[in-house]
Symmetry: C2
Subunit: 412 residues, 2 copies
C-alpha cells in the first residue's frame, strides 16, 4: 500500500475529530455516501459536541456559488480506489471533484469492495471543477477530456478510513407500463422534425430525466428508431444501462450510475461490457451550458403538472433531478416534457390553470407529449399556447372549465 | 446609391405584398420598429387580406427554438444605414442578426435620419446568430469579435423601404431616489467579498437589469468605488450612458441602447465621445451562457417580491428584462437581487410566503439587498434561508406572521 495512504489510515471516530464546531463540512453524493464517517459525525452531534445539521448544503452543478468562504473546510468523500495521485469515486461522481479541489481538508472513506473494473469508467475534467469559467473541450458525448480519477493534493488529506462494508445500491424504479402511446407520438414528432430539416440526420444526444416514464420512452425510441442514440444525462439508470448493453444506446454519459442490487451482483461484467461507452463525469461537465448548447441535445423531462402558460411542475424523483432538468431544458435544442396520464381514480387532470411550482418556465418548454398527442408550443402567442394545450387534451376531465376560463379572459 | 439598394426601393404598401396569409412574419426590436412597414401590414389585416396577429412571437436570446420551420418566412427589419454587404441596425440589435440570417425573405425599413456616428458602435458576431452551438470567442466586455454591420444575403432582400421619419425614443425612466441605503449595503458587501478573496481585485463585469433601482445603485457603486466598472448587460439605459461619458464606467456592452428624446438631440456627439467603449451586440452574444460564465459577471436584478424560499418575482420593466434577467442570474458568479421598500401607504411587505411567479428560483438568488441590509442565502438550508430573510427585514409589517409560519412548520 502506498505510504501516503498508510500514514493516514484511521478509524471513522478518529477522522471526525478534524471537524470542529463552526467548520463547513460537505459530503459526497446521495448514492454512495461515506456512511461510516457520516455516522461517526452524527454521533458527535448526538453527543452535543457538534451543533445539529453538521453538513453544509450546496448547489449542485454550480457548487462554487454556495460558498461564502473559499470552498468548504472539510470534505468527506467516498472512494472506490486510491492511487498516489488521486482517487476513483464510486458510481456517483457528482460534485466530488470540485469538493476535493476546493476543500481545505479531505477525509476519504475507502470501501474496498468495489470491483477494479470501475477504473477507467470516469472522465474527470479538472479545469471545470476549479473554475467554471473555462471552455470545456467536450464536443461529442463519448469524448474523453480528463483523467480517470479525481486528482488529490495529499497535503489536504487528513484521514483515510478504510472500510469493508456492503455496497449500497438504489431500490428499483418502477418502470411505467402503457407508455406506448406517448412513445409513438414522440417518435412521429421527431421523425417529422427530421423531415423538416429541424433535426440533423444523426439523432442529437438525448437527456432523459430519470423517471419511470422517460425510461419507458427511451426504450421505445431506441426500438423504433433506425439508429443508435447517445445519452447525455445526469443520472444513468438501469434502463439506460440495459439499452447500452444491448447496443441500442451508442454511449451513455452522466454524472451518476444508479444501479440496483440485482444489477450490482454482475457489476464487474456489466462495466467491462460497456467499456468506453459508459462515461461518468463531474456534474459540472455534464451540465456546463456551453457543452449542452454545443452538443445540441434534446431534453426529455417528465411533468407532474403543466399549466395553460406551458409551464411545467416536474416530477420529483428520488434524486431531485428537477434541479438539473432545468439546466438541460434551458440549453437544449428541443425541450420535451412528458405528461403521463393522471391516475384514473383521481378524477383530476394534470393540466392546471397555474402550476404550484414552475420548474420549467414557458420559455423552457417547447413541446408537451401526452397519450393524447403532441402540443407544439413553439413560436405562438400565450393565448394560442393555452388553446393548443386545451385542445390537445380534450379527454381530460377538467377540460371544459379550463377552456371557458381562457376564452373568457381573452381579449376580443 | 448602391444599385442593389436602388433596384429594391419600394413603398411600404408594395413591400407588404410579399406577406401572404400563412407566412411566418417577424419584426425587429421593441425600440426602433420598422413602423411604416408594420402599419402597412396592419392595414392589410384591417382590410381582411391577412389574418389577425400577423407577427410570430419568438423567444428572445434563443430565437432558433421558436421556429417550427427553418427560420421565419419574412423578416421586417429596421436599418440605420445600408452598405453593399450589410446593414447597420439602429440602437436595438437584439435578435435582428439571427432573423436576417435565417429568414427566407427580408424587408428593410431604412430611416435616413440616423447619424453616421452610429457606424462602428456595433459588433455583430455572425457565428452565434447562425447556430448557437459555437464557442463565442469573447473574453472581455470590450472585445470586438465580429463586424460593425449585420451581414446581408441580397438574394433574400425583397424590398427596401426608405423613410424620412422622426426617430422614436423611449420615455425617461424614473430613477428611484433614496436608494442610498441599499447602495451602501451592497457596496459594503462587495468589499467584504473582495477581502475574503471571493471576488477578484478587478471588479468583474456587472449586469444590471434596467430598472430605476439598478440605475441608482450603479450610480452609487461607481461613485463609491475606487475603480471603473465594466457593464455587460442587455439594455443600456441613460444612467449607464451618463456614467460611461463621465468615465465612471470603463465600457458598456449590451444589445440595446435605450435613449430618451433629451439625449437623442445630442446622440451624434454622445456616440463619438463613447467611441470604442459603447458596444452593441446581438442579444445571443450578450446572453451566451459560456460568455457569461467566462466573464464571471455579477448580476443585479430588481425584485417586486421575494419569498421565504429565496425566490424572486422580478420587477417587469417596460422591456420585459425579467426574461434575460434569468439568463444573467443563472450563469453569474454572484446573483444579487435588489428588494426596494414597498410604498409605505400600501402597508404590505414585499416579502411573501410564496411568490406568484418565480422568475428566479432559489438556486438563482445568492444575495438579497434591501434598505435593511443583506440576506446572504448561499450555502444554507431552506429553513435557515427563511430565518435569514425574516430576520433581515425585521421592520417589515408582515414579519411576525411569516416567522410564526416558518417556525411552526419547522421540524424539531
Amino acid at each position: 500500500m502506498n505510504r501516503r495512504i498508510r500514514d493516514r489510515l484511521m478509524t471513522a471516530d478518529e477522522a471526525v475529530k478534524w471537524v470542529r464546531p463552526g467548520k463547513r463540512v460537505v459530503a459526497s453524493g446521495f448514492l454512495h455516501q461515506p456512511s461510516r464517517v457520516l455516522r461517526a459525525l452524527q454521533a458527535l452531534v448526538d453527543d452535543g459536541q457538534l451543533p445539529p445539521e453538521p453538513l453544509t448544503p450546496f448547489r449542485n452543478s454550480f457548487p462554487r456559488r454556495s460558498f461564502t468562504r473559499k470552498g468548504p473546510d472539510v470534505a468527506i468523500l467516498h472512494a472506490a480506489a486510491i492511487f498516489s495521485d488521486g482517487f476513483v469515486p464510486a458510481l456517483a461522481v457528482e460534485e466530488s471533484p470540485w469538493l476535493a479541489a476546493n476543500a481545505h481538508e479531505i477525509i476519504l472513506e475507502w470501501n474496498v469492495n468495489w470491483p477494479s473494473s470501475l477504473i477507467g469508467v470516469h472522465d474527470i475534467y479538472a479545469d471545470t471543477v476549479v473554475d467554471d469559467a473555462h471552455i470545456v473541450p467536450l464536443c461529442q458525448p463519448a469524448d474523453r477530456i480528463g483523467t480517470p480519477y479525481i486528482p488529490l493534493d495529499w497535503t489536504k488529506v487528513v484521514g483515510v478510513v478504510k472500510v469493508d462494508d456492503d455496497l449500497s445500491f438504489v431500490s428499483p424504479i418502477e418502470e411505467s407500463a402503457n407508455e406506448s402511446r406517448m412513445a409513438n407520438h414522440l417518435h412521429e414528432f421527431l421523425l417529422s422534425e427530421l423531415r423538416k430539416g429541424l433535426l440533423p440526420i444523426d439523432m442529437p444526444p438525448i437527456h432523459a430525466a430519470c423517471t419511470g416514464e422517460t425510461g419507458a420512452i427511451l426504450r421505445a425510441l431506441t426500438q423504433s428508431g433506425q439508429q443508435r442514440i447517445a445519452l447525455f444525462t445526469d443520472i444513468i439508470d438501469e434502463v439506460a444501462l440495459d439499452l447500452l448493453q444491448s447496443e441500442s444506446l451508442s454511449v451513455a454519459s452522466g454524472s451518476t450510475l444508479a444501479v440496483t442490487q440485482a444489477t450490482a451482483g454482475d457489476l464487474s461484467r456489466t462495466l467491462k461490457q460497456s467499456e468506453n461507452r459508459l462515461i461518468l463525469r463531474p456534474r459540472q461537465t455534464i451540465t456546463a451550458p456551453d457543452v449542452l448548447r454545443r452538443l445540441g441535445i434534446i431534453s426529455i423531462n417528465t411533468a407532474q403538472e403543466v399549466d395553460l402558460y406551458g409551464r411545467a411542475h416536474l416530477q420529483s424523483d428520488r434524486w431531485d433531478s428537477a434541479n438539473t432538468g432545468q439546466d438541460f431544458a434551458r440549453q437544449s435544442r428541443l425541450s420535451i416534457v412528458l405528461l403521463p396520464p393522471a391516475p384514473p381514480e383521481a378524477g383530476v387532470s394534470r393540466v392546471v390553470p397555474r402550476v404550484a411550482q414552475a420548474d420549467l418556465s414557458e420559455r423552457e418548454v417547447d413541446v408537451i407529449v401526452s397519450e393524447h398527442g403532441i402540443a407544439d408550443l413553439r413560436g405562438i402567442s400565450a393565448a394560442k399556447r393555452a388553446e393548443r394545450i386545451i385542445s390537445g387534451w380534450a379527454r381530460e376531465p377538467q377540460q371544459p372549465d379550463l377552456a371557458a376560463m381562457v376564452f373568457a379572459n381573452r381579449r376580443k
